[in-house]
Amino acid sequence: MSDQSLKRVDLIFGEYSNVKYKILADTLARTNDAILKDILDSGLRGRGGAGFPTAMKWKYTAETTSEEKYVICNADEGEPGTFKDREILLRVPRKVFSGMAICGKVIGSKKGYMYLRGEYRFMLNDLNRELDIYHEHAKKLGFDFTIEIRLGSGAYICGEESALFESMEGGRGEPRNKPPYPTTSGFMKKPTVINNVETFVNVMMIMRLGPDQYKKLGTTDSRGSKVFSVSGDTPIPGIYELELGMPLDRFVDEFGDGDTKAVQVGGASGFCVPRKKFKDTVIGFEGVPTGGSMMIFNSSRSMYNVLHNYLEFFQEESCGQCTPCRVGCQQLLKGIVAVKKGEKKAAYLDQLMKLSESMKITAKCGLGQSVANSFSSIVNNFKEEMIY
């Protein structure tokens, strides 16, 4: 039954052509406007989590005049339960580099960087070898866009774009105030496009298939396919490329172990969906968005422990600069412990819920703003587990 609505796709990892860098060569021959129009028509939204329309990001950056501009590939992949960028980089790095190069052409940049998660150092040699090949081809095509790989420092917050720039500039990985946005002031305070690894691959997909074909995948709000990292209580953990916009119950049918109690969609900063809501939940920007992480929990799991674990993660991984996030995370963690131990009344959870709401609207960056996602969805749906 799942087969009709859960479409497995093989576009991201599949080979497009026997000729290396053929699509890049074809695309470089096109006009920037035509390329941008295709991406716009495709409805592509960023795969790094926030889902910002990619065409708009490129367009704004293209429109900003500056001698120097940068293209940055965000390969920091720090979200717990996410390992899809790793797979993409291992299997089809060429598509990522080509996507970056096309971006470089469109926005008028000569320099790209890949910010690679420190833990992925093991693939650095292979990536650099592939980069040499890319540079050879670019040279042959007379295309001036070089790419360099920078290794991350291991902090989750360095995946946040402005903290990533700070880190690349040699500073401490602390998010900046926005505005200004990267499109006008990013790396080295220059106009910068920063995209997720998978976003660049999607660009290549659009260049190959054309927007009309691409649009056939997914829903109005969530076009295309997506690479999911499936983990937890599943007999078949791993990487799957699926069409966006699927209902969660179909997903659970296929990947669950028959006893699924909840799915955490989008990692620690995502939402926890309980069994009773599987049916009404769509995975995509119109429903519950995800950067790729799908963590499945069966009824043997304590959701208190799950939340405790996430909050520990946030308490440690917050950059610590802003009050709501630095102190809020500590309070949420200590708060649920106190309630569990009976040191605080159950009603204190409501107080904490309000606090998480304040964090969502006052924190400086996406990290602190998204703690409330898992906090409120777990506490609301599994209140008894929090108390008893």
């Binding site: 902090a155 917050i157 401490r172 990985g173 602390e174 105030n177 505005p179 946030f314 308490q315 440690e316 991984e317 917050s318 950059c319 610590g320 600069q321 802003c322 009050t323 709501p324 630095r326 102190v327 809020g328 995370c329 500590q330 309070q331 200590k334 708060g335 106190a338 605080k344 107080q351 309000k354 606090l355 304040s358 969502k360 609207i361 006052t362 924190a363 400086k364 703003q369």
Partner: protein, 597 residues
């Protein structure tokens, strides 16, 4: 002209320049949004989030200090949503904070405390996190105490130390719940590049960075019948002390300050301005001697340009950062230390006192002077030349402790001797002041005439905040002894704030600038913006203090250091001549190269 942007704040329409923030727009309407990490002197951090406001059609609450205005914005600064969020934020800060205000030095002048009292935070809605924190207090330094248990991590200090001072002694260490303000390898401030300038103290909104106070020790000395306690007051104290006692900025309170010190029970109330004049004589002669040795005798060992040495924050900075330029520093001690050395020698002899019974106290706009007084070289009288250094703020506290109604005090005069000074000494308190004072004297020594400036006001060297000011003075029609200087254009540069000092020194090092004389003050605006001055500080307050200093100068009957009769008497009775043997023993010093971290 900048484009105007229209927006609505709390129902009021306002047009402000493009690029302004919501906070600035609100202030222009006299709507005061609370802030903690924001400071006029520093770049915007946007990390405390206390200043959040509600913007219609936007889900999150922007931080008003960091959010530029945009056309058609509708802002609410005091909506229900804002009030709850703000309360949450202050409660969160307090939950991490060792808020025992009655044990805290900043009690009564603390921005966090002010905010907490405004918000009625009595109910403590969250758990107390302090017991689980392993907060430490750095008490090793003689000038500055850093108490992490009172830190709200606003990073004002970090920005101050980096942006204004280019020292970067303070930085952020660790992340998440362990994030803290720290130093190189978490060493004590005593062991790192910190210059003790106290600029971070001036801007810290809480009691996390404070001066080490010596108030009780000074009271003990005053109460001790066997001690003769002399106090000296630096030029910049008299134009700022009023602020610490509830008066508006820019009031000259010299007479009331003297009266207060007498009522506190000091045995002699004397003036650092006296030794400021003395510094000018010594330093002026030193400069001229160096010029002569370099230009006439062609002595290659003579280091030029010569740099002033009266700002101890600057001294420690150059010791760490440009140790190769230590020979360029004037060997003159700061006026404070000259005074201290004379208090226990000349003054003791003249007053027939045993120097071991003299306690010498100084009131300074400065925290670095506390460190300076503790340098091992500063014992040329055979005793510790200056026993205790108090800041302007500490004096303010003592006056309050003594129950004096400061504004109502009658004006009194400094005791004599070592109490008379010139206008040239007064302007030591502002950037460019030492240069101007030195030129008033040196020019006259060399030419026999007054400096060719209207009313002796050498405005070209009067520095401005945030600026390196270069000026030159052409020396003409010299008296015979100095005719080797005929036609020489004396090139001077004046800088305040260590970031600018660094620029000057880099230019000198790289051969990009060719000066004879460099004046550096470690603090923005000079001593008037010193790290021991009343809190708060901002450009407007400092501008008022500066006006007061130049007004005080103009009002003095003596305007030139070499016309100070008490200084003249000092030379005839005791020192004999400038740069003489006794001078060298008591008034000059040497410097120590230090590590660069």
């Amino acid at each position: 002209m900048a484009n105007k942007v229209n927006l609505t704040i709390d129902g009021i329409n306002v047009a402000v320049d493009e690029g302004k923030t919501i906070l600035e727009a609100a202030r222009s309407l006299n709507i005061h949004i609370p802030t903690l990490c924001y400071h006029e002197d520093l770049c915007v951090a946007g990390n405390c989030r206390v200043c959040v406001v509600e913007q219609e059609k936007v889900k999150t609450l922007p931080a008003s200090c960091a959010m530029p205005v945009s056309e058609g914005m509708v802002i609410h600064t005091n909506s229900m949503k804002v009030r709850l969020a703000r309360k949450h934020i202050v409660e969160l800060l307090l939950s991490e904070h060792n808020a025992d205000c009655t044990k805290c030095y900043k009690n009564g002048n603390c921005e966090l405390q002010g905010l907490a009292s405004q918000m009625l935070t009595g109910d403590h809605m969250f758990l107390d996190l302090v017991p689980d924190k392993k907060y430490t207090i750095d008490m090793f330094n003689s000038a500055i105490i850093k108490d992490d248990s009172r830190c709200i991590r606003c990073q004002r200090c970090v920005r101050t130390c980096e942006e204004l001072q280019s020292v970067s002694a303070l930085g952020v260490a660790h992340k998440g719940d362990k994030m803290k303000i720290s130093t190189f390898f978490e060493h004590s401030l005593l062991e790192v590049v910190c210059t003790n300038c106290g600029q971070c103290v001036n801007r810290c909104p809480t009691g996390a960075l404070i001066e080490r106070n010596y108030i009780d020790q000074v009271w003990d000395a005053i109460y001790d019948p066997n001690k003769h306690v002399v106090v000296q007051t630096a030029p910049a104290v008299r134009i700022a002390l009023g602020e610490a006692l509830g008066m508006p900025s820019g009031k000259i309170v010299t007479g009331r300050m003297v009266a207060a010190l007498k009522r506190l029970g000091f045995n002699a109330v004397l003036d650092t301005d006296f030794t400021a004049d003395l510094t000018i004589i010594e330093e002026g002669h030193e400069l001229l001697t160096r010029l002569k040795k370099a230009l006439v005798d062609k002595d290659p060992s003579i280091a030029l340009p010569m740099a002033t040495s009266c700002s101890p924050g600057w001294i420690k900075f150059i010791e760490h950062t440009f140790p190769e330029f230590l020979p360029n520093l004037s060997t003159c001690k700061s006026p404070q230390q000259m005074f201290g050395a004379l208090a226990k020698t000349y003054y003791a002899q003249k007053r027939k006192l045993d120097p071991k019974n003299i306690v010498s106290v100084s009131i300074m706009p400065c925290t670095a002077k506390k460190f300076e007084a503790n340098r091992p070289e500063m014992r040329s009288s055979g005793y510790k030349d200056v026993d205790f250094v108090l800041t302007t703020r500490e004096l303010g506290i003592m006056i309050k402790q003594a129950g004096l109604e400061f504004e109502a005090l009658p004006e009194e005069k400094f005791d004599s001797f070592m109490g008379v000074s010139s206008g040239a000494a007064v302007i030591f308190g502002s950037t460019g002041g030492v240069m101007e004072a030195a030129l008033r004297t040196a020019y006259e020594i060399v030419t026999g005439r007054e400096v060719p400036f209207d009313g002796l006001n050498i405005t070209p060297v009067r520095g401005t905040e945030g600026e390196v000011r270069e000026a030159s003075v052409l020396i003409e029609r010299t008296v015979p002894a100095w005719n080797f200087l005929e036609g020489v254009e004396l090139k001077c540069v004046v800088a305040n704030g260590l970031a600018h000092a660094k620029t000057v020194m880099q230019n000198v090092r790289d051969g990009k600038a060719n000066y004879h004389f460099i004046e550096i003050m470690a603090c923005p605006g000079g001593c008037l913006g010193g790290g021991g001055q009343p809190i708060p500080t901002n450009p407007e307050i400092r501008a008022k203090r500066k006006e007061a200093i130049y007004a005080e100068d103009m009002g003095m009957s003596i305007r030139k250091s070499h016309e100070n009769p008490e200084v003249a008497a000092l030379y005839t009775e005791f020192l004999e001549k400038p740069l003489g043997h006794k001078s060298h023993e008591l008034l000059h010093t040497h410097y120590t190269p230090r590590k660069r971290y």
